[in-house]
Symmetry: D2
């Protein structure tokens, strides 16, 4: 299958460029009977939406999603769900520079090598704008998981550059523009970001995602382990350079007696596994963490080459997030939800829960 | 597709349990004309083989692979390649304890929940023994990549518990039982492992894998990015808890001016990207790093439950690696080679006609 | 992958119901550099469009397609192509009867059993209206095949109920509303259809599709043979009940000496194989034929049951094709083109480097 | 996925050439808990085995299958099932002629074009010998379908060249070497085959396959309809040139009032649909019919070319079936069973039926 589809039974296929006509998505495999409306998707889209605080890009996108199919009388029918977001903020601007240069740390150079051409307007397909559709599709998965299985998928920013969240209060996450669970660190983060913007530089971040209520048994060893598919999903998000499950890289220095999660009839005594043993969910919370690199678009000059191979100095003007990690929390949640949804269906089938009351006919 | 197949055009499907009759594998999609014999696979299998030093399990497996199809007159024909390794060291032993207990940090508990049954002999399908077939399949990919494209895939152990390799000499990697590139650290590692075995405990490790000579253009955004598929492949290896590409988690604290790899006509000036930009290879070395948890089988007692939910104390006797990371280097190489091979074929298909006139950059 | 995606490297994923907001499609894997505009798709859409003669349904659909992504400066970029057709003729009508009844030979009963619900308006997802998107996607494949490879995919109606085309003139196919290659039979067909409409009944048809210029070597044995994928594609079209390749069912009574296509240095002497040997294209024209059942929507009453299992008499009023086969020619062409496109890309990937020195035979 | 895998949740991947070391297969996705032994597979393999009557090839193959994995204590475990059949009758013979010639109606010419090489011994991968593995895998599917769902998949030869079965008695099918349900026609078939062998020619055949007890709801529109996947599966069998479902090509001349299967509370009144409506099973028997071409290997000379493009006269000596259709009944059954199994799992999930009695642990 081509690279713009994710999932095997719950599949999400997307299209759309940063400055094209629209972004779209087809969700195939959503079970019938789920109550669904645009409002259900809009909440998460608004969390990802640019321009909601001074710390993110000031590009203004309404990001209004329309459901074009697959829902009838307010409920999913089991047929594919078509989603569409029209691009509204396509400023006409001069693209001649970006067209002729390969910006450092961007996909300009590699897209050109792969395709022999590229839509350079705002990064085209390689722009993080495509993640809007991941968030919309993830919202469908999150709703199904919550309503049918009682699974809750939530994320938060655990580190912004050098600043680490030290306390963890889920109630704080939605109260600040960073999705930070430690209210005490928010002023520090705000000051850091203000200084960074002045400086013209950018910074990396770390996001954690947690799914609670996942039943044991999800995951398809040996290659499609739950954690392997999760790594695939999370690493496919723009700017992600690392993925951990459970203890992650701390495992390197752990001894077996420290790492192993002992069990008692009352439950596991720790969760270094991050909720996955042998590639299959254990019933504990699924815990993942990702590293996001700093934004590549900087107004500080950088050395690069142009399309003819000559050296150039690249300066990126315009509206950009100084920390792409800030808006990444809903995207990471979406990808985890999509993975869990897909594995639930692989384990249980697309219509395993359908209750049919229709009479069954034979042949006379 | 079910979970025991990896890849889309170069597909590897495996079977086999730790103490079953045999392990096997079907490689589908290997291009015709590649010279191939058992000896080509055996070299890597021998590197993974248990019992080659006192630091790994003393289980004795010949791990002799047979090619059953797909090769004619010494060359691949383009038809599927069947591989088989018969299990020779299946000691008859008393499995009654392992049958009735869920060992902590093992897949016993989750397999039981998923399948309602499990082959408990030596871990069955969840045993790392299945990785022998990954290594055999990876050897085919490595040979194709080397001979047709000049790509070299190599790995090494960069950290054993608290001990980090500090020097990097490729020539040393094959000279010690740890695949450690820093000869000075080898005695320290040996002493550490000896102490650990006495203690009865185990330890984690970190493995790095590098592919040199990869042409720019491989990777299928937006979901099947090269790094995302790599994360999938590497996280699917037993005991892996984290995957990094390039700067990995260091990106969190990097500023944009530090992270971005500037370009000059002579090449990239750094490789924080790890050879992947926008999910597509850049022509720089592909660099990945993985964290392996400590072995879960310990003779030190651990709390657990039995199949009826009663508390038990688990003690694992028998032959086990105190550090699964030690034998993981050839496995990680194999998975990276399989991913590159698959992406090469996917790219050749969709973009076989693309003429690219862009300059190809290396690394200074 | 879920059931609304076709293809492995050239994938077509569609959504949309008969009376929903819109129909849509994502084409993933189209190589970059193909000149493409809406007009290229519209020509085939207009051939399939209802209401172009008195012999098809009088539902009026503009079927105007928009390209939403994947095309930049008039050429494909290699990124996914999003297509959209808004439904314009959604008459508000009383659906209470169709909602409560299972019409004979329709998918009402089976959709209800599969999904436990159904969008009954105009048949919802099971309506042949979805084939508009197949035609649009097929037009992209046809253009690529024609421009890059010189492959021409064309179809025609070879039989309308009892009336068989006896002459074959490609130039006539586009000159009559039946896509019939035998001009002499057209008046007979018109009279037959007029009588049928008066009667209130419907009739089956046979469509043939031919691809000329296909290079030898396409097809992926043993399961994804070219003819097997073609059978899949053609049988997936609404109302199709049979698929033949080459001599098809005539092969049953043929002797080996009659069926085998002998070869001379000048070419094959016959084409009973239909251009496929061992599942791989031979260089001869690919020839397939399909049977389409008569339309199920009739104003003549039929026995059926309602959703509670009680007997009802069903009468379908409204606008329906008395012969669905009449508009099926462009759909069959589209599916054959999609299959060839997909196999071309699969072959280029796995065998892009193969040098073949074997003589290429045509047909005398 | 590459071309040697069939299915999405119940996947069958095969390898092996006619005169290679062995044939093999990996079944992935078989649910746990199915009682399974070699004997369960051997029965169907013996029905397909050559040399059981004078009307089939006298090649002697034991076709003894071994189960290498996926079964523990007599039951499937949910992990992949490895199967192996060693080739025993590999006569050493002179292959120089077949190596240098392209036999008419064989895959010699097309394999050479696809792969640039071929294993010419006995047809290599293109030999019908590979169908042994389809039969073995199909036997697993048949057993699951029968035991868990009460589905029975059976086939028969309905036509041998000009001779059509007119009566239908299931009890007769296993009583004669043709799998013919009409005992009265058997002597005629025997005489016909005897004459054909003397003549040196071959003949085509028609096989019907029927699945009874299939619940309504299986099939994944719009592309993976049950009938479309069935067409794919059946057309992928060697020598098949046509596939029909239900009324098949008779639909072309049927009127709607004749074709539509009316329903009453007691059941459907006919089965022109062949058990599939809108691509989904209706609860009626699934009925398919296939056309098999006559064997291409004839001792009567045929015109062909050699690898250098020169004209040659080809004569095939050795052991060949004069009617490949005779042994095709178990193969067609196998493919139908695999399709039904796959669709059952897609609808219900791989583990939808698993009953787990293990305690579920949380986290303290």
């Amino acid at each position: 299958m081509s690279g713009n589809t994710f999932g095997k039974l719950f599949t999400v296929t997307t299209f759309g460029e940063s400055h094209g006509v629209a972004l779209g998505c087809i969700i195939d495999g959503c079970p019938p009977g789920l109550a669904l409306s645009e409002a259900d998707l809009q909440a998460d889209l608004d969390r990802r939406k640019p321009g909601t605080s001074r710390h993110t890009t000031q590009r203004r996108e309404a990001d209004e999603v329309r459901i074009l199919s697959g829902v009838f009388e307010g409920k999913t029918t089991g047929t594919p769900i078509g989603l569409l977001i029209e691009n509204t903020d396509q400023r006409s601007k001069d693209y001649s520079k970006i067209a002729s240069q390969f910006r450092p740390a961007h996909a300009d150079y590699t897209y050109m090598h792969k395709y022999g051409t590229r839509d350079y307007r705002g990064g085209g397909r390689s722009s993080a704008r495509e993640t809007a559709m991941r968030v919309a599709a993830g919202a469908v998965a999150k709703k199904f998981l919550a309503e049918r299985l009682g699974i809750q998928v939530r994320g938060y920013l655990s580190q912004l550059g050098p600043i680490k969240a030290e306390k963890h209060d889920w109630d704080q996450v939605m109260e600040n523009p960073f999705f930070c669970p430690d209210a005490d660190k928010v002023p520090e983060m705000e000051a850091y970001m203000d200084a960074l913007r002045k400086e013209g530089d950018s910074i990396g971040a770390r996001i954690n995602v947690v799914a609670e209520g996942v039943p044991p048994g999800l995951g398809e060893p040996i290659f499609d382990r739950l954690d392997a598919d999760l790594a695939h999903a999370l690493m496919s998000i723009n700017a992600v350079k690392g993925v951990e499950v459970g203890a992650g890289f701390d495992s390197v220095e752990q001894k077996g007696t420290e790492h192993r999660d002992e069990m008692t009839p009352e439950g596991f005594l720790s969760n270094n596994a991050g909720g996955v043993l042998g590639g299959i969910s254990s019933g504990q919370p699924i815990v993942a963490s990702i590293a996001l690199k700093p934004t590549s678009s900087l107004r500080l000059p950088g050395r690069a080459i142009d399309v003819d191979g000559h050296p150039v100095e690249v300066i990126t003007t315009g509206r950009h997030d100084p920390c792409v990690g800030i808006r990444a929390t809903p995207i990471a949640e979406a990808m985890m939800a999509i993975v869990l949804m897909d594995h639930y269906l692989r384990h249980r089938g697309q219509n395993g829960d359908v209750e049919v009351t229709t009479p069954v006919l034979g042949q006379l």
